[in-house]
């Protein structure tokens, strides 16, 4: 029995260490923003300062990269969300011998390294005279982000009660009305979540973007190049801001998702 208790204690201890491991690097990085030192570090502490936020504010390259990132993300949303929804509807409706093959094809971008998606996109568009830039970045990112959208929409679509569909048609709705008034509203929460994830995936992407961005540097590519060349704690200031935005988004998203799950459980129970 004591060995059991020892194991249980060991597991608890491990969990604590694990979360420390998960958060400590991020905390140290954030702290380094406020250190008055030419290089981003916490040792030695040269005094507390906010000047790196000011430096970041006056960094034209950062603003340019940010605007590129936002444009790319908007393009990805416009393409990847409709494609993802279409694929989910397709897989949910069609039964055919070709379906397993198409399913594998749809999933394949998720199992392909990002650099390869970037390389193949770059090579493919070269014959049409298109070189790296915002347009190719949108296409390259859409290639795999559409598959994430498909998975998220599919998860909700599989729980759809198709008698609702038949009821609408029996009551005289056209197929378009049924699609517009029944199916799309039902899918709306999943579509919104998928859009949030798609936006973040696009904003954060590095491996694919690196190959297709050309001179249209996105914010993530910009951060990486700053780390490798002109490294100052301004990078940390930017990182800290991004982390704070992400944390707020993640918590809001997760709490909203949980409320939905709880509401669904209540519906089923009642």
């Amino acid at each position: 029995m004591t060995s059991q208790r020892l194991l249980a204690f060991g597991l608890k201890f491990y969990i604590v260490v694990f979360f420390a491991y998960l958060f400590l690097p991020l905390i140290i990085m954030s702290l380094a923003t406020f250190n008055d030192s030419r290089f981003p570090t916490v040792t030695p502490w040269g005094g507390t300062t906010l000047r790196w936020f000011g430096e970041l504010w006056h960094d034209g390259g950062m603003w340019h990269a940010l605007s590129n990132s936002l444009m790319v993300a908007a393009g990805v949303l416009v393409l990847a969300v409709p494609i993802g929804i279409s694929s989910a509807l397709f897989l949910n409706t069609v039964s055919s011998r070709a379906k397993p093959f198409i399913y594998a094809l749809i999933l394949s971008p998720l199992l392909t390294p990002g650099v390869i998606i970037g390389i193949s996109t770059l090579i493919f568009w070269r014959q049409f005279g298109v070189s790296g830039g915002i347009f190719l970045t949108v296409l390259g990112q859409t290639t795999f982000i559409a598959a994430y959208v498909m998975l998220m929409v599919m998860a909700r679509l599989q729980r759809f009660d198709r008698t609702m569909e038949r009821a609408a048609l029996d009551l005289g709705a056209s197929q378009w009305q049924m699609f517009r008034r029944i199916l799309l509203p039902y899918l709306k929460p999943a579509i919104l979540s998928a859009a949030v994830i798609a936006f973040l995936q696009s904003f954060e992407n590095y491996n694919t973007t690196l190959f297709v961005a050309g001179y249209d540097t996105t914010l993530t590519v910009y951060i990486a190049s700053q780390v490798r060349t002109g490294l100052t704690p301004a990078v940390n200031a930017l990182g800290l801001i991004l982390i704070l935005i992400t944390v707020v988004l993640a918590v809001v998203y997760e709490l909203k998702r949980r409320r939905e799950v709880a509401a669904m459980a209540r519906l089923k129970g009642g």
Binding site: F90, S96, L105, L111, P113, W176, I223, V227, G239
Partner: protein, 295 residues
Amino acid sequence: MFRQLSARFGSPVAMAIVTLLGMWLIMMVTLPQLQMIEYSLRPNLLPAQIGGPDDRLTVANYVTLFNNDIHRAIFLKTIWSSVLVTLLTLAVSYPLAWYLAKVATPRQAALCILLLIVPFWINEILRTYSWFILLAFRGPLNEVLLALGLIERPIRFLSGDAGVMVGMVYAYILFMVFPLYNAIESLDGNQVRAARDLGAGTLRTHRRIVIPHAKPGIATGCIMVFMLAAGSYAVPALLGSPGSRWFTQIIYNWFFEGGNWNQGAAYAFLLLVLCIGFMSLVMKLFKVGLGDIAK
């Protein structure tokens, strides 16, 4: 297929679905990959030579890898380092997934999952950069070790493969934790209790009950982590040094420094084959299908 779609949604929507899906699968997923393979089988020529007598299919770009000792060594190192990263990640994640799925109360598990998801949403570059600061020569880790008297002079963590591998485990760990957690969670707790009542110890319960049940999750996690590790550019670029180059960096150099896209395409295709090979191997070893992985 179109008939089934238009019977359900009407022809305009069916048309839209088929067009969007077709465009994606043909123009973005399939053709670029095929074009990359075709590219890899052609020599790197000047524009004037294209279509000329030298423009024929050849495997010369693949032979380069086997003739170039440095590239071959980096390719092999990338394979075994990625395998090591995958195994390390599995070892680190398993106790956590077990705790979340079977030991923690629902409230504790919910909190832990929230704590796991938050860093997962943070940019991979930033997560890697945070290790860059932590492991720096005059960074906090060295200072702490010095202060504790464990080392006499600072260690150059960022000059070998170890820093890269630590960074990768950190960056990709959640791709392992979540599939594992999902798989272990679906295990009936009574099976674990039964095993214990029948006298099985902790190790044996895990080896005979939990791990066999969690196979699809283990397979999914391993495939994802290996693919991410072998295909990572960010982590080795930030945490590595010229002496610890990754295969993706060689590919990048062919494109943007060597200016030989055909050669780069061949190396990229080899990386893809490596990932597909690893995936098939794991799927065969664990006897799982593609359907289990997408869950």
